[in-house]
């Protein structure tokens, strides 16, 4: 890819058109491909997976005119091929050491305060479910979940999805609470 190439609005629009003629669906597909590429680079042990995912998308976008002529099939697969090349180049570069952001006690206190606030905002049902999913000591996660799924009369998979959604909502609430407090 030309090093001076940068993603213009026009090029991005062309990418979206290639992904789907419906602009809304194209936007969803773009986000899906990006988030999956991030997971793939993470799975390969890359420290900055977002950057590599964006680099992959930029490369596909920069060669879109050629790709449109030649490529047929599931477009997501094309990104996979380009991601492999980007990854090989990443491996040749010097890899930065992973950094873990230290958490100071003030930040930890704020996080806990936000957690308490956000848990209080959950519905009684969701709060009880979350606490039960973590609660019983002396049991493994699998044992707890099985007992809880039986108690609620739902499948184990349905329970996992419900807990995941509650946790995701809780995380978003905590993030917002922290942002608002800083």
């Amino acid at each position: 890819m030309n090093k001076n190439w940068s993603l213009s609005q026009e090029a991005f629009d062309a990418l979206l058109d290639w992904l789907d003629s419906d602009r809304e669906l194209a936007g969803i597909k773009y986000e899906q491909i990006r988030s999956r590429l991030i997971k793939i680079f993470t799975g390969r042990g890359c420290v900055d997976p977002e950057e590599l995912a964006d680099e992959t998308i930029n490369r596909v976008t920069s060669k879109l005119t050629e790709i449109q002529k030649e490529f047929t099939g599931d477009r997501a697969r094309y990104f996979f091929g380009v991601a492999n090349k980007v990854h090989l180049e990443y491996l040749r570069r010097k890899m930065p050491q992973p950094q873990s952001a230290p958490t100071d006690s003030v930040r930890a206190e704020l996080e806990y305060h936000c957690l308490e606030r956000c848990i209080a905002r959950l519905s009684e049902e969701d709060r009880a479910l979350l606490l039960k999913d973590y609660g019983a000591k002396g049991q493994t996660q699998a044992e707890r979940r099985k007992a809880l799924a039986d108690e609620l009369g739902i499948s184990l998979n349905a329970l996992r999805i419900r807990v995941y959604r509650i946790r995701t909502a809780l995380k978003e609430c905590i993030e917002k609470c922290i942002q608002d407090s800083l």
Binding site: K39, G43, Y112, H113, Q141, I161
Partner: protein, 267 residues
């Protein structure tokens, strides 16, 4: 989550798939399977969604000490590679701390279904709780004032066991410790819910001023409890409030905050 087929709604055996995802997350999937899995991850929504859920499950299992020693090592060296996952781990620990300190029994409230019954029952409950609370608080205050805590003194070492304190409530729950005599060492035993690090780091504070830092501390077993020992000299302490910050030391050498402990030295 996207509005697509739910995890497990494909034709693969869910257990096999979850095992494959777990291996992928821990970096132990062989190369061929990894490539195939990544292609599916990119093209099949259900695989991606299952991966997100399995990430959370894996974090919980790490936090609660359910992973084997090998898995724990793989988790730390491979899974925790990105800042996003380290943030998710912090969230998992935070949630676990919250659950550990909030025993919230879950009851069925079906008997409170009519408004009149609800208010009458709640009024009665409030009265009972209020009366019980006053009795308990009086008893608790009396006990605390009567019995200041000297945990144990043997051969010039005073041992004080500290439970993790919830942030924001340290002042009210701080454990009391008698002023140690000169020449005595104070061994602070920091209770730990789950042993998740090889080395630990402790820092003693008074009024936000750091008094002592010790790293390369190792976990010890005390009965069924796991503790991190942190020894300070008696001369270091005078009447007042103290905090101890406990962190785990990551392979990278960076610290990861675990919990705060607080105590009050009294004469």
């Amino acid at each position: 989550m996207e509005a697509n087929p739910s995890p497990g709604e494909n034709n693969l055996n869910p257990d096999t798939e979850r095992q494959e995802i777990r291996s992928y997350l821990l970096g132990t999937l062989d190369r061929d399977h990894k490539t195939q899995f990544e292609e599916r991850l990119l093209t099949e929504p259900s695989v991606y969604e299952e991966l997100l859920i399995d990430e959370e499950d894996l974090i919980d299992q790490y936090v609660t000490g359910e992973l084997s020693a090998l898995e724990q090592q793989q988790f730390e060296s491979h899974f925790l590679i990105t800042a996003e996952r380290q943030k998710n781990l912090r969230f998992g620990k935070l949630l676990q701390n919250y659950v550990n300190s909030h025993v919230e029994p879950v009851h069925s409230f079906s008997f409170l279904q009519t408004p009149v019954r609800r208010w009458a029952s709640l009024g009665l409950l409030a009265t009972i709780l209020g009366a019980t609370g006053i009795i308990l608080i009086r008893g608790f205050v009396n006990r605390r004032e009567a019995a200041c805590v000297v945990k144990q003194t043997t051969s010039g070492v005073m041992t004080v066991t500290l439970a993790p304190g919830s942030a924001g409530t340290q002042g009210s729950t701080a454990q009391r410790v008698n002023l140690p005599p000169h020449g005595v060492e104070v061994k602070l035993e920091l209770q730990l819910s789950k042993p998740t690090f090889y080395y630990y780091k402790s820092e003693l504070f008074r009024e936000n001023k750091s008094l002592k830092i010790s790293d390369e501390l190792k976990i010890e077993a005390k009965g069924e409890q796991r503790i991190v020992p942190f020894t300070v000299t008696g001369e270091m302490l005078s009447p007042g409030d103290y905090q101890v910050k406990l962190s785990g030391v990551l392979d990278s050498g960076a610290d990861e905050f675990i919990d705060n402990y607080s105590f009050r030295v009294i004469e």
